[in-house]
């Protein structure tokens, strides 16, 4: 790629990028700057300068807990999607074209339904009278209905289904490009199936996993609807906190602090995965 753009074409490319660039400047960079200024303001008119909001946010163990819960939700969701995505991806590359189309359709299904509908569907499944509890009770696996709604476990289960395509699509794309004779070579050399996965498939699929993990992390930590509807009032994550502070309490500087914190937290997580990627490439 590099070296393709020579002197005279470079100018043209810049102008082509201008509309999107200006849009970003006006509707992304500018609001971000306002947000940052807001977090140091006294009130919602951007007036004055104060560290009060920052001090209140980081001084309170409750709010620090919210930050940690949000990050943990992202990491746990990444871990759980990874755990389920690999078997599906392995099944995908091992199956014929017909089954592949079906699997791809099932994988993409969550993306084709509205977030709100998916989330309420999960309520129907996870609630005390829900499908899951009825099934568990009928099978005698539990004597009393489990409390899944408003728990992190329930939220992670729902998020896992909703975010699965984001993990699976890059993973499948990368795994399809792995030469199938590499697995054959490993097997013929005496490698078990597990060894072949661990030593050959897994390392070579890492770029796909990193892309997927980045998307899932960013998406799970900011999944406002799922977090509020399934997490309810008992579980508070940064997006919910921001909404409460901005729309209910009307404490805009404080909401701004939470927003900037969420932004930085997500960026930190994302760059962690990117770093893993660079490490995996050089290793």
């Amino acid at each position: 790629m590099s070296g393709a753009a020579t002197g005279e074409t470079a100018g043209v490319e810049w102008r082509l990028a201008a509309p999107l660039g200006l849009t970003y400047l006006a509707f992304f960079a500018a609001p971000l700057l306002i947000l940052l200024v807001m977090s140091f303001s006294v009130d919602d008119n951007l007036g004055g300068f104060s560290l009060a909001a920052w001090a209140k946010f980081w001084g309170d163990p409750f709010y620090r807990g919210v930050v940690w819960d949000t990050l943990r939700l992202g990491l746990v969701t990444v871990a759980m999607t990874t755990l389920f995505a690999y078997p599906i991806a392995l099944l995908f590359i091992a199956s014929g074209p017909g089954l592949q189309r079906l699997l791809l359709f099932i994988v993409l299904l969550p993306l084709l339904t509205s977030v709100v509908i998916r989330t309420f569907a999960w309520i129907a499944i996870l609630s005390r009278e829900g499908v899951l509890n009825q099934a568990l009770l009928a099978l005698g696996l539990t004597t009393a209905p489990l409390n899944l709604l408003q728990t992190e476990l329930g939220l992670v289960i729902a998020l896992m289904q909703i975010e699965m395509p984001l993990m699976l699509l890059p993973l499948i794309t990368v795994m399809r490009q792995i030469d199938p004779s590499l697995s054959d070579a490993s097997r013929a050399l005496g490698g078990s199936k597990w060894r072949t996965f661990r030593k050959v498939i897994l390392p070579l699929s890492l770029p796909g996993w990193i892309a997927g993990a980045t998307l899932v992390f960013a998406s799970a930590t900011t999944a406002f609807i799922s977090q509020t509807v399934i997490g309810g009032a008992r579980l508070v994550y940064l997006p919910t906190l921001i909404w409460q502070q901005a729309m209910v309490v009307y404490n805009w500087p404080f909401a701004a602090v939470a927003s900037v914190t969420l932004l930085v937290a997500v960026l930190a997580g994302v760059s962690l995965f990117a770093m893993l990627g660079r490490f995996a490439r050089t290793a």
């Binding site: 030469d179 004779s181 590499l182 054959d184 070579a185 490993s186 097997r187 013929a188 050399l189 005496g190 490698g191 078990s192 060894r195 030593k199 050959v200 390392p203 070579l204």
Partner: protein, 371 residues
């Protein structure tokens, strides 16, 4: 070229491989049809045939990557059909080499040893030994992508041989190599196969490759073995028209059996010439046949002789040390005549008017195929 077989180290026991009535279908499509083949201990057999005739399928069955629909694979008197690939002790070299791209050369070679739980010291020593065997010392820490095609193939061989397999399978191993490099690698593989006393199957669609390194060749077509024999047998005595046409180049003449006796036949060709041909196949006078003859078993002359065909010379091409003449009979049948070219001899030497069988010529008779 004759390769001296080095003494096989005493600790290596070559083992025979038997394919017993193997058939395989992908869904409804029959890819391998009742193949029976006995590979002797220490022998290299080439599976030669056009693309899609089932060679790779057969190889993958031996390696255990696919389970045949019916038939048995026997390695050293032991039926291995129930064994997964990692328990068959079969080494395989792929056309794409299939080196692990994220591992160094040394890690690639050590892979099979580590899978077998060999100690670190054993691994290190064996890697060193194998690198020396394939003359790749000094490349231990390279990644596969930093190697040329030939070097990658050497590493692939070293990796397959490091675990001391009983059987070596090679699937089109030279297809991705330059022509010059090909011969070097063919010699190299032959050398290693002898040195390690390996029983080997080489899959190829390239007849020169099969001719140059195989002890015996199994010519395959449509999932079946058409003929099994030494390279010379296959070339000189093809049993079917398919083998005749697939191996080397050959001219076909339509004819009719005029008289028959004790495996010797007189054949009247369409051009009127009468050829005396011996054949083990039974024919009766009046049978329509195809007589085939290699271009190098024909000579051009400027006068009529016994059994000669009147021809016109269309074109002569100097191909290295050979002259290939493109000639045509009066009735318009085109065929080729090959002759050695003396140094300095021009491409178009003579005003040839006739084509005759060379003194050593052995035309081959086949029944006329149903049109």
């Amino acid at each position: 070229m004759s390769l001296q077989a080095p003494a096989i180290p005493p600790d290596i026991q070559s083992q025979p491989l038997t394919l017993d009535a193997i058939s395989h279908s992908y869904g409804d499509a029959l890819a391998v049809n009742e193949v029976t083949l006995e590979v002797r201990a220490g022998e290299l057999i080439a599976l030669l045939g056009p693309s899609g005739c089932g060679k790779s399928t057969l190889l993958r069955i031996v390696a255990g990557f696919i389970n045949q629909t019916s038939g048995r694979v026997v390695i050293a008197d032991r039926v291995v059909d129930a064994l997964p690939p990692n328990r068959r002790e079969v080494g395989i070299v792929f056309q794409s080499y299939a080196l692990f791209p994220h591992m160094t050369v040394a890690e690639n070679i050590a892979y099979g040893l580590e899978a077998r739980g060999e100690s670190k010291t054993t691994c290190r020593e064996r890697v060193k030994e194998m690198l020396a065997t394939v003359r790749m010392e000094g490349f231990a820490d390279r990644k596969p992508r930093q190697l040329s095609g030939g070097q990658q193939q050497r590493v692939a061989l070293a990796r397959a041989l490091a675990v001391r397999p009983r059987i070596l399978l090679l699937d089109e191993p030279f297809a991705a190599l330059d022509k010059n490099l090909r011969l070097d690698m063919q010699i190299e593989i032959k050398r290693l196969q002898r040195q390690f006393g390996l029983t080997a199957i080489l899959v190829t669609h390239d007849q020169d490759e099969a001719m140059s390194i195989a002890d015996r060749i199994a010519v395959m077509s449509k999932g079946r073995i058409e003929q099994l024999g030494s390279p010379v047998e296959i070339y000189d005595q093809p049993e079917t028209l398919f083998v005749n046409d697939f191996i080397g180049s050959s001219n076909r003449f339509a004819g009719v059996i005029e008289s028959a006796g004790e495996g010797a036949y007189s054949v009247r060709l369409a051009s009127g010439a009468l050829w005396q041909v011996t054949s083990r196949k039974p024919f009766a006078p009046g049978d329509r046949v195809v007589a085939t003859i290699r271009p190098e078993q024909l000579v051009l002359t400027d006068e009529a002789t016994a059994g000669s065909i009147p021809v016109t010379l269309k074109l002569s091409l100097p191909i290295g040390g050979e002259l290939i003449h493109d000639v045509e009979t009066r009735s318009g049948e085109a065929f080729k005549v090959a002759a050695g070219r003396r140094p300095g001899e021009p491409a178009s030497p003579m005003a040839a008017t006739h084509c005759a069988l060379a003194p050593h010529a052995r035309p081959i008779l086949f029944p006329q195929p149903a049109a």
